[in-house]
Each structure stands twice: as C-alpha cells, then as structure tokens.
Symmetry: C2
Subunit: 203 residues, 2 copies
C-alpha cells in the first residue's frame, strides 16, 4: 500500500517516524476479547474491504455532505474559524477518511496499525489538529462527538455491505465485525484523548 501513502496527503501509515502507541499489543488483545472480535471477524472485514472498495467515496460523502454538514457543531471542524469552507482540507481529509475505511477492513491490527491509530486520534485533538493540512480551524474535535457519531458510521454502512449480493448472514457477519472494530477503535482513541493534556477539555 506504499503507493497509496504517496497519493494521499498526510497519510503516514507505517511511517517509522510515528510515535509508539500508548496502547500495547497485549491491551489490544484483551480489547478484542471484550468485543468478541476474533480471527473470523478479521476475515469478514477482508471481505467487507472488497465489497466497500468502490464505495468509499460515496460513503464518506454521505457522512460528510449529507450528515455532518447539516449538524453545525460537527460541520465547524472542517471549516475555518469564521465558518467558511476549507475545500483543500475537506478533500485531503476525505481521502484519508476513505482510506481509513479500507484500513479498518484490510490492515492487520499490529503495532504499525496501533501506532497509526494514535497518530490519527492525535490529529483530532489540540495536539495536532489542522497541522497536517496547515489550516486554521477548530482546536480539536471533541471525543464525545466521535463516540456518538459511531452509531451513524455503524448503521449507515450496512446498505453498502449488501451491494455485491452476499447472503444476509454474510452481510450480518461483515457488519458485526465492522461494529466490533469501531468499538475497538473508539476504545483506543479514548486512551489517546485521555493522554492529552487537559483531558476533560477535549471531551
């Protein structure tokens, strides 16, 4: 996926300069157990990756243009401080958002993956928001809104999982794996947010 990294601005997955995650591989293993995420789920996510590959643009557009754009306290995070659109920011971060969907599905959840989760989470906190794209926007994206929006990101993915005509039980298996993974992501992001100075401010 090296070529992908070169094509998407700021997509630094696997960059050896990234900091080591505050979440350890053994904590991740326990988290998977808590969510009942197994190797089977990893396989279903691989299948989901094939199903979603041609749909990621449509999915991110639905999330950002149809939903987030209509919720002012969410929309402002990709606008400037006067509320004006930042088209360059929006397009670069949408490409990273699209790639994130594929990473959820296809990347092995190893140390490199953990490290990039942390980088990604930090880019939503006051430590690093706006820097990747050199923009002036809100200081951080509150963790609470990410957690709440997961309900949307989980529910709205399902119709896209059906587009290749897989059986209802396979769609359900892919969807369950997706949901478990999102909760694991959120658990990891929560530690990163908690580790940031002034924790409850970033809530």
């Amino acid at each position: 996926m090296e070529s992908v990294r070169q094509k998407i601005r700021g997509y630094d997955y696997g960059d050896p300069a990234l900091a080591h995650s505050v979440v350890s591989m053994s904590e991740l293993a326990l988290l998977k157990e808590s969510a009942q995420f197994t190797d089977k789920d990893a396989s279903y996510l691989l299948l989901a990756g094939d199903v979603l590959e041609c749909k990621v643009k449509e999915i991110v557009s639905m999330w950002r243009s149809d939903i987030i754009a209509s919720i002012p306290h969410l929309a402002r995070h990709s606008r400037d401080l006067q509320g004006n659109p930042l088209p360059g920011y929006l397009s670069a971060s949408s490409l990273r958002f699209e790639q994130w969907i594929l990473d959820v599905c296809r990347r092995p959840y190893d140390q490199q993956w953990l490290d990039y989760q942390q980088e990604n989470a930090l880019r939503h906190t006051s430590v690093r928001k706006n820097r990747t794209d050199s923009v002036q926007s809100t200081d951080h994206l509150p963790l609470r809104d990410i957690i709440a929006f997961v309900a949307v990101m989980d529910r709205s993915i399902r119709p896209f999982l059906t587009v290749q005509g897989h059986s209802e039980s396979l769609v359900e298996a892919m969807h369950a794996a997706w949901q478990k993974s999102l909760q694991i992501h959120i658990a990891i992001w929560t530690k990163v947010y908690m580790s940031v100075e002034g924790q409850t401010q970033s809530w």
Copy 2:
C-alpha cells in the same frame, strides 16, 4: 418507579442526594444530534421497553453468564480478589443491570437521568466500585472494556427485539435507537471516567 427503587438494592435513581452530572443538558442535546438521536428514537425505545420487559433477566444472564463469565479479564470484576464468586454482589448488580435496560428504554433523558448516569459510571471507577454492595473486588472496571463490550450489548439485543413479532422495519428502528442510546451513554461515561483522578489508570 419508586417501588422499583425500593426493591433493588443500591438503585438510587432520582435520589436527590446524587451529585449533579458533569455533563450538562445542553451538551446532552448536542450529543443526541451527533448520534442522530431524535424524539422518534425515544418513542422506539419506549416500544423496545415493552418488548424487552419480560426478557431483561434472560438478557443480563446471557451477557454475564454466557459471555462475561467466559472472559477472565471481564469476569474478575464481579469476583473477589482471589477470583471467587460473590453471589450477593452478582445478584444485586444484575438486578440493577436489568433495570438499566428498562431505564435506557423508558426514562426521559433529563437532569435526573444524567445525574444517575454519572452515579452509575462512578460505581465502575475506583471512586465508588464495590461500595454499594460492600464487597472486595477489583478496584475499577476499565473504560476500554465497557466501550468494547458495547458491541456485544448492541448486537445481542436484536433477537430479543423480535420476540413480539414486530415488523422488520420496527425492529430495525428499535435497534437503531438502542444503538444510538448506547453510544450516548458511553460518551457520558467517558467524561465521568476522564474526571476521575488518575484518568489513564482507569482506562
């Protein structure tokens, strides 16, 4: 529901002695928006409450006996420090767990509800775990495991939502409302955990 409160040990919902939540009603309103939780969802949860009412014992038993009990790092939180069962703790907290399902569905999400979310979250942190039932058990239940386990609590509720023969679209509507509510709960709990001294310890 006063009679319920008297019947379940430690179920202090609505107790005027409870502290005021660190999450405000206006923050809750925004959270609902972020999860796309509307008045319709509240109505679907009322319906879900009627459907689930006779099933809460079965549901909590599934979560605790079938799932949590088989995951050592989760099971230990309702055992003593030597790993022995604490039947009194388990039964009292299961009754509260069952009542929580009904509260998710039936309680208006008002200040009283917010305050009890905080009390409930605190009882899983080092501030107040074990005190309600005067037991010696783990110091706290890590937030990360609660977040991860939400995937289980969301997925596994669905078959129970079908037991009264409602249409697929109504079951889906009840389930979507349930999921949104769980994410809102987790967002609130996260602030409570973040507010506790030594935040990342309790992660």
